[in-house]
């Protein structure tokens, strides 16, 4: 039929566009998302500032701005010697926010990386293998996603905390290692769903069939074809995972189930938790600055995630 001839001509029309690799195209589209680009810079600046805390912080984590013998040092509003004011035992809020952000970023990144690895593996295998394993994985994630998140988190936290060998490996429920473990256990489900869907749609495409026909093994298909094609959704999941873990840590801390403040370290969650009573007492600086730091992180990551989504999946971006 003439039809096939003409449609091959149609196809050639598409080739007149500059040919760029998908990665470069995504990168270009990302750059058009202004909020996302600004967010990358803001976040990079924040991370740099926090990483350089030996120089950027003004006091130690538990150091008082001045000795109590020189006058009252507690709950002082912002001043020259303490830009963000002081807390209930006279420590510098600015320095503590820096240390807190550092710990929270570590928790967020570590949890996100672990859940990404776990989720990608489970999702890819579930998608490729299908069958019973797939059914079980999807039912488990269904149940957890339907449950109120905090309830599930708290119940599972206690359950793991009661299992001896788990606490030997990841520490007591109030340790940071345990938090990372807990968030990884919860975080993989979203990633697994995304990756499974990706695998299922890729499985239908011809180049995977071709690879199979050429005798490629499952492992090879995952590594050579599926993972590179899933890089976009995985990046989005990673960014959401970081924020999810940071916010979860803060929420747990708020109700007294976060990291143990007795260990001397701090986290954004502990700072936020400390602000709960400070708010009622009117010490706004104890709430505002930790909140601001938290919001900078969540907002930046949201916009970056949005930019990534648009970049890798332009049809869902909807005009901007």
């Amino acid at each position: 039929m003439a039809e096939s001839e003409l449609s091959s001509l149609d196809a050639s029309v598409g080739l007149t566009a500059e040919s760029l690799s998908p990665g470069r195209l995504a990168y270009r589209r990302f750059l058009t998302h202004k909020a996302a680009v600004v967010s990358v810079f803001v976040l990079a600046l924040l991370v740099l500032w926090v990483l350089l805390s030996p120089w950027t912080a003004r006091y130690g984590v538990n150091e008082q701005v001045f000795d109590i013998s020189k006058g009252p040092n507690q709950n002082l509003p912002p001043a020259d010697f303490a830009w963000f004011g002081t807390d209930i035992i006279g420590r510098d809020v600015y320095s503590r926010v820096l240390y807190g952000v550092r710990v929270s970023l570590i928790i967020g990144l570590a949890s996100a990386v672990f859940s990404l690895a776990l989720g990608s593996l489970i999702g890819a295998v579930a998608g490729l293998k299908g069958g019973l394993f797939d059914d079980i994985v999807m039912r488990v994630t269904d149940v957890f996603l339907a449950f109120p998140f905090l309830v599930a988190l708290l119940v599972v936290r206690n359950m793991f905390g009661a299992v001896g060998w788990i606490t030997v490996i990841v520490g007591q429920p109030s340790s940071i290692r345990f938090m990372v473990f807990l968030f990884a256990v919860f975080g993989w489900m979203g990633v697994a769903r995304v990756l499974r869907a990706q695998v299922l749609s890729l499985k239908e495409r011809e180049f995977i069939e071709a690879a199979r026909a050429l005798g490629a093994s499952n492992a090879r298909i995952i590594i050579r074809h599926l993972l590179p094609n899933s890089i976009g959704p995985m990046l989005v999941s990673l960014s959401l995972g970081v924020v999810g873990a940071i916010v979860s840590e803060a929420t747990l801390s708020l109700f007294g189930y976060g990291p143990d403040p007795g260990t001397g370290a701090t986290s954004l969650g502990l700072l936020v938790a400390g602000s709960k009573s400070a708010v009622r007492a009117g010490y706004w600086w104890l709430a505002l600055y930790p909140f601001a730091a938290l919001l900078v992180i969540t907002l930046c990551v949201s916009f970056i995630g949005d930019g990534l989504r648009d970049a890798f999946d332009p049809k869902h971006g909807g005009g901007r």
Partner: protein, 323 residues
């Protein structure tokens, strides 16, 4: 006889981030009552866009100028509600992909009833029984049962019949069929063509049949309009176009058709031009083996050469050299 559809110097352009795309660049065409005109061209030649613009179905980014009169009513440059009042009544349209052209959540009957009640003051019951008649007319078995079903319960060919029934519900003067058979199997294609032919004969509806399939055009059209890069390249009666094409593009299209007495297909080399900055003169000259310097300043006016009208300025000399 007065034409039921008269298009004069129709121009359509789209604003896009990359620039203004000149999709249609001055098309004129008359369609007589009961006539079946085939519009042929590649994707992007402006054939669908021309008729969508007459229906007023283009997005806000489109700018339409010129004139298109349907049974005495101007459709271009007039108020939106004037266009709307004619749409579905004097001029109706069926689309390429019947699988996605029907609303999945409404019953077939209700979708036809909606079309009838939009333009006729009749009761729901009367409209419904008319819908069943229409489904019968387009050859749907058990039309009364089928009317109560949802689109997903129909095959592609059946859905296209439903689309036709809906389009002719208000006995329009003009039916625009935008590649109605492209998405269908070959055997189903033939049935749909037959339905369209029946409709034309029974209702005396003029049909504009948009396609890139010359084989289909040869089968059903009275006249053919070949479009290239937003202009008419050649027009004529279907037999004349097939027997003695005068535009090199038409000849290219024909020689890329497979046929029994030819051993090799000859595809047209190259791709259609970029319509953001279309070339001056004859748009086909970059792909044309007969192009000369004069083609760069050629106009788009149609000249009668032999039995057809063509925009190719070298048509008569080429015709001479071929004989």
């Amino acid at each position: 006889m007065d034409p039921v559809l008269s298009i004069k110097d129709l121009r359509v352009s789209f604003r896009t981030p990359a620039g203004t795309v000149q999709a249609v660049r001055g098309v004129s065409l008359d369609v007589q009552p009961g006539e079946l005109v085939g519009i042929v061209g590649e994707s992007g030649s402006g054939k669908s866009v021309s008729f969508l613009s007459i229906m007023g179905l283009l997005p806000d980014t489109a700018t339409v100028t010129g004139s298109a009169v349907v049974a005495g009513t101007e459709m271009i440059g007039v108020r939106a509600d004037q266009v709307r009042s004619q749409r579905g009544k004097k001029i109706a349209m069926i689309f390429q992909d019947p699988l996605s052209a029907l609303n999945p959540v409404h019953r077939i009957g209700a979708q036809i009833v909606e079309m009838i009640q939009a333009h006729q003051d009749v009761s729901r019951e009367a409209a419904h029984s008319r819908a069943v008649e229409l489904l019968d007319l387009v050859g749907l078995p058990q039309p009364d049962v089928r009317a109560k079903q949802y689109p997903h319960e129909f095959s592609g060919g059946m859905r296209q019949r439903v689309m036709i029934a809906m389009a002719i519900a208000n006995d329009p003067d003009v039916l625009i069929a935008d590649e109605p058979t492209t998405a269908l199997d070959v055997t189903v294609q033939a049935q749909i063509l037959e339905v369209i032919e029946n409709v034309r004969q029974q209702l005396r509806t003029a049909v504009v049949f948009i396609t890139h399939d010359l084989g289909v055009v040869a089968r059903i059209a009275d006249r053919v309009e070949v479009m290239y890069a937003g202009n008419t390249a050649e027009r004529g009666l279907v037999n004349d176009i097939f027997a003695a094409p005068n535009h090199p593009y038409t000849r290219g299209l024909l020689s890329s058709l497979p046929s029994a007495n030819r051993e090799r297909l000859k595809p047209i080399i190259g791709a259609p031009p970029n319509m953001i900055s279309p070339p001056s003169g004859c748009a086909f000259r970059a792909r044309c083996e007969h192009a000369t310097d004069a083609c760069a300043s050629a106009g788009t006016a149609l000249v009668r050469v032999g039995a057809t009208e063509t925009s190719c300025i070298r048509a008569s000399e080429l015709q001479g050299s071929r004989q």
